[in-house]
Amino acid sequence: MIDRLMGILKLLARIEITIALALMAGALAIWNAESGGGNGIWIVAPLSGLVVNLCAALVSNRTLSAQPALFAFHVGLAGLAIAVAVDALTSFTGHVEVTENSLFDPNMVVGVARPFHNSRLERIRFRQKSFEIKYAPGMSRRDTRSLIEIPEGNSWREIEIGDDTPLVFSPYRLYTSFNKGFAPIVTYVDAQGASYTGAVHLPSYPLNEDRQGNVWIPPGSDEPLTLWLPLEEPLYNVDAEWRFSLPENPSLVVIEQGLRRELRPGESIQLAEGGVLRFESLETWMGYTVTANPYVSLIVATALASLASLLWHISKKLLAPLGAQASSTSRGESGYV
């Protein structure tokens, strides 16, 4: 019975299986990256196979079990594969746009939550203040500095985040992204007198400088409005330094049922279905990427444990005099060194 079990384990531990599973994991990982990151869960299957393969080798391979450092290294690798699989099942990746002088709204986060991700986005609380994005000549994006306010006791504290200085609300990390743009603030008063004020985010600028418009349906209405920010010329000079900034004297073009009307800040128009639309002001919005890897510390711990074991194993090998190995093991003989 034990012999039969060992036979099965030796079969499961074959290096050919390791190579096939590693190639499968790599191919799935690349497919996931190419398809925008929504298919990462499938990598759990080959990783689980690799863990089984490695555990079978740890039990059935006497050469491995006879060398504590090498054994520990392979245990560490199995642990690392488990940790990566756990991460693939529990992580979160998304993005969000936050209007200047507005509170972060967790409902506006768009992303991919893994099956066992315990969403705690409501933990994130901050208010977007101003931000600064510098460009070097040639429209090469340089530093991004975003001022935000985070709650502290009964008040708010101002902090600065940026390119590699994230806002951390464990397990979430928010990084400023290359996305940012303009946001007309509009107030809509419906026929019954109810008033709604909000921001309509226009596409990222300057990436979409020729498409600074968006379609918006007022609350309770079924008539879409097209809002445009007319920009006669680029706000930047390609050959000079530039900072992302609002256009001077902005206006808002509202197109309703083919009728085009232009508003200055503070101006209103009567809409066909009875409501009133007022253009309050032009603000900006800042884009953030939102990531969460709740078990990343497990990955770090297993990776460091594996490396320490590898160092231990290699140092033992290096201490042996050069040439001793060549004379002690004949070619074709099986054995780890």
Binding site: I15, I19, D163, V290, I314
Partner: protein, 267 residues
């Protein structure tokens, strides 16, 4: 900028001369000592050139192709220099190691010298750690390749390589260098993941450079397993080491300039 370039060309000349001397050292070992002196001087001049550029641009040499080639030519020659200084075996094989490195020297000299701006996410303490570990990995691999070439050349020019130890010992030395190299490559991957987590909020995203770096790591691990279990002939082991180096070379000097992902050398 003119002074930097002049110093770079003087250093490159020194590297080529040192390689020629070291190759001649296969027959007359005394020439290897002269090669080491020339190599040391070239490294010093090259370091001044890199330092001047670093001071002028206010960032290290790791953004555009010229900088990456220049810093790698320096670091790989420096590792070869240190190895040959402390080990008699590596000193005897210096000719084949420096011979390999001249490919990079020539590539550096035909690459346009242009200024670069440091991408914002490169401003992290993890980056120099990541890069240094990568350079040590590549340096150890280059020396292993030099030894492997010596193993292969022995079949055709045994008399010229008479001062080298037994072929089995040279091959085992190359294997040991790869063992140490895989440790540094593993550390490089971990430091890179820490940098990526700091800079972009993800530790691994399978961008082209990460994918090829992982493939390189897998190839080194596969070689170590194969060499340990099968005990191949020294010539076969030497060819496998050269194969690993080719993959590592493509990862270091090819992929960063072909990909459009954030993790690329030229932004």
């Amino acid at each position: 900028m003119f002074e930097e370039t002049v110093l770079l060309w003087i250093a490159a000349g020194g590297y080529v001369l040192a390689a020629l001397m070291a190759l001649a050292g296969f027959k007359r070992p005394a020439l290897t000592h002269i090669a080491l002196w020339i190599l040391g001087s070239a490294l010093l001049i090259h370091a001044i050139s890199i330092g001047m550029r670093w001071g002028r641009l206010e960032h290290g040499p790791y953004v555009n192709l010229h900088e990456i080639l220049s810093s790698n030519v320096w670091s790989l020659n420096a590792i070869a220099f240190v190895g040959a200084t402390v080990s008699a075996l590596l000193r005897r094989a210096l000719g084949s190691v420096l011979g390999v490195l001249q490919v990079l020297t020539l590539w550096l000299l035909v690459t346009p010298v242009t200024d670069s701006a440091l991408p914002v996410t490169y401003n992290t303490p993890w980056l120099p750690v990541h890069i240094t570990l990568g350079k040590i990995f590549l340096g150890l691999t280059v020396i292993a390749v030099g030894l492997s070439i010596a193993v292969l050349l022995r079949r055709f020019a045994k008399a010229r390589l008479q001062y080298l130890p037994d072929t089995d010992i040279v091959e085992e030395a190359a294997y040991r260098l790869i063992l140490v190299a895989v440790l540094f490559e593993s550390l490089m991957l971990v430091a890179g993941a820490a940098w990526a987590r700091d800079a972009w909020g993800r530790y691994w995203a399978w961008d082209p450079l990460e994918t090829w770096a992982f493939a390189t790591w897998m190839s080194v691990i596969a070689y170590i397993h194969w060499r340990s279990v099968r005990k191949p002939r020294p010539e076969h082991s030497a060819i496998a080491i050269i194969g690993v180096f080719v993959l590592a070379f493509l990862t270091f000097f090819g992929i960063p300039f072909l990909s459009a992902a954030p993790h690329k050398g030229a932004i």
